[in-house]
């Protein structure tokens, strides 16, 4: 796995660019650990100062230094995406690999479940969930709900790979040699699924971060935890656009666009590794 990433970094310009963008963002997010202010505190610096030498990204109307607030927000947003991705990968992997490996009625039942989750429009369901929980909505419960809604598309992809592995010679050898089902799935099949798992992780993070921002900007999340979404929410609450504090909107939007572009470039690079035909395609072009 590491050698694949290293080769991609060396020979795939898109992948390298994505990795660099994300590396910079991660370093910036980690700086939040050194922040001189508590992100929950307001009016620690003079409000509404445009970007300059003293405050690189300006300060907002709540008297917070944008540089440090954005750093915390970026960390929380990226952690959120990662947490959703990890939990939903676990579900997608289990369901997808079981459906593909067992086939028959197990496959039919699980495929039905997958198709149901694909057809559910997430946004109204998430809003309904927020409506029922309101102030009790915690970071962890939102992660859990998003993960339980967002696994289906990738489970379908993993199922199709597992389906093709099932009839391969080495699977039968393993079965005849008396290897348990769990061992076959984890030791024999998982390595084939890993590249796809990686690229779906990136796409899933893009999806969950996008939805989190949407919910937060509407005020449908825990608005006291700084994330990119809640930063834009507070900017809207103080009508940042009309009062001229454009830096309060521009920097969070720019930061999140960079996150998306970085993740997307990584996933495209990984897909090119998975599908060698597109690599040939690049050589020809």
């Amino acid at each position: 796995m590491w050698s694949v990433a290293r080769d991609l970094f060396r020979y795939n310009r898109g992948f390298a660019a994505g990795a660099c963008i994300l590396a910079v963002l991660i370093v910036y997010a980690l700086l939040s650990l050194l922040s001189p202010y508590d992100p929950a505190d307001a009016f620690v610096v003079p409000p509404d100062i445009p970007p300059g030498a003293d405050f690189w990204l300006g300060t907002n109307s709540r008297g917070q230094d944008m540089f440090w607030i954005l750093s915390v927000a970026l960390r929380n947003t990226m952690l959120f995406g990662l947490a959703v991705a990890i939990v939903s990968r676990a579900v997608a992997l289990t369901v997808g690999m079981m459906a593909g490996y067992f086939g028959g009625w197990v496959d039919r039942a699980l495929t039905m479940l997958i198709d149901t989750f694909i057809a559910i429009p997430m946004f109204p369901v998430l809003v309904l969930f927020y409506f029922m929980i309101k102030d009790n909505l915690s970071w962890a419960s939102l992660v859990l709900v998003m993960a339980l809604l967002g696994w289906a598309y990738d489970a379908r992809l993993i199922r199709s790979i597992a389906l093709s592995l099932r009839t391969r010679e080495f699977t039968r050898h393993a079965q005849f040699a008396g290897m348990g089902t769990r061992d076959i799935l984890f030791e024999e099949h998982l390595p084939y699924v890993l590249p796809v798992l990686f690229s779906t992780t990136m796409n899933n993070m893009i999806w969950s971060i996008g939805l989190e921002i949407t919910l937060a900007v509407l005020g449908f999340s825990d608005i006291d935890t700084p994330t990119i979404g809640t930063t834009i929410y507070w900017a809207n609450q103080h009508s940042a656009m009309t009062t001229g504090t454009w830096w309060w909107i521009l920097f969070p939007v720019a930061a999140v666009l960079l996150v998306f572009i970085g993740l997307f470039l990584l996933s495209v690079g990984m897909n090119e590794y998975i599908d060698p035909r597109s690599r040939l395609d690049r050589l020809r072009a």
Partner: protein
């Protein structure tokens, strides 16, 4: 024909299964979460008012009945399905006594219009350009289009709509950024109304199209660039078949089929995106209804919009699914 009917029937059973599972999931979200909608509504109604305990008790009883929350969980579940079967989603509290179904019926055409128009445009344009880009790989213009498509594709609906709103609302205000028509205008049918509605729909539609087009473009380009290496395409080229015709009838037609499946699989996500975009532009569709419902604490309305969204999307997926074999003669039925 008989085989096709069996196929439709099987799809219909699946459609019912999706509805059953999804609407059951909604039931559990609303019934197993800690907040009680009755107490929430009571708190909202009684804030700033001194009602006698008897009146409050009476209200609590009425609301519990109205929301279908009396009895055991199982009884509530049965009654929930009875209401669904009757199409009765209860009255909306914020627009009392209008029933939720009539509010949804008023909002749904706006969402459907926006969704269908923008999806058709994004799908057609994305596939056309993607197909051309996959076939004429040396073309500079198409390469630029590819980079643009890849840049736009990962941006979520909300962020792109928001960026366009800022650009056309504050930086260069030439388009209306809110509503579906000029406020308080005469809504009787006329040419000026049509033009007004069109003008107001430009920004939401463009934002939906820009997000949507990239995915179709990239998918189609990959499909076509794989297909052109097939022997039958090489054979057609050697046989001197016109290149345009090869692309149209030999390559694109084959590649379109997975894209139709893709459309069916993405409808749920596209619907969510439309709803989100509506909210940004204050478009009077399901999205605005949903958010207004949350902000006014209207339990029946939020539940109703969620259920109707699931129904609408599932029905649309079913329609695309049963059209598929009519378009692809290779699909064996039976």
């Amino acid at each position: 024909m008989r085989a096709y009917l069996i196929f439709v029937l099987r799809r219909f059973v699946q459609f019912l299964a999706v509805l059953f599972l999804a609407i059951t999931a909604v039931f559990f979200i609303t019934h197993l979460t800690p907040n009680d909608p009755v107490e929430q509504t009571l708190a909202r109604i009684n804030s700033g008012m001194a009602n006698s305990p008897e009146v409050v008790a009476e209200m609590r009883r009425t609301l519990t009945e109205l929301y279908g929350l009396q009895g055991s969980l199982w009884e509530q579940y049965v009654e929930y399905w009875q209401r669904m079967a009757r199409g009765d989603l209860g009255p909306s509290l914020s627009a009392f006594p209008a029933p939720v179904t009539s509010l949804v019926a008023r909002a749904a055409p706006w969402t459907a219009g926006l969704l269908v128009t923008s999806t058709v445009i994004a799908w057609t344009l994305g596939n056309l350009l993607g197909g051309l880009a996959g076939y004429y790989r040396q073309n500079r213009l198409l390469k630029a289009a590819e980079i643009a498509a890849m840049g736009l594709q990962p941006i979520p609906y909300y962020v792109l709509a928001f960026v366009l709103l800022i650009l056309f609302g504050y930086v260069w205000p030439i388009l209306p950024i809110t509503g579906a028509y000029v406020m308080n205008r005469d809504l009787s049918f006329s040419l000026s109304l049509v033009l007004d509605v069109l003008r107001h729909s430009i920004l939401p539609a463009v934002s939906l199209i820009l997000v949507g087009i990239g995915g179709w473009f990239i998918g189609m380009r990959a499909l076509v660039s794989n297909l052109v290496t097939e022997d039958y395409v090489l054979y057609a080229e050697l046989g001197g078949v016109d290149r345009g015709r090869i692309l149209r009838s030999y390559v694109m037609r084959n590649a379109l089929m997975p894209q139709i499946t893709g459309l069916a699989m993405n409808l749920g996500a596209i619907f969510s995106g439309t709803v989100i975009t509506e909210e940004v532009y204050g478009y009077p569709g399901m999205g605005k209804l949903l958010v207004d419902g949350v902000n006014s604490g209207d339990y029946s309305l939020v539940l109703g919009v969620a259920v109707m969204s699931i129904l609408g999307v599932a029905a649309a997926v079913f329609l695309v699914d049963i059209l598929y074999p009519l378009l692809d003669p290779r699909v064996r039925l039976g």
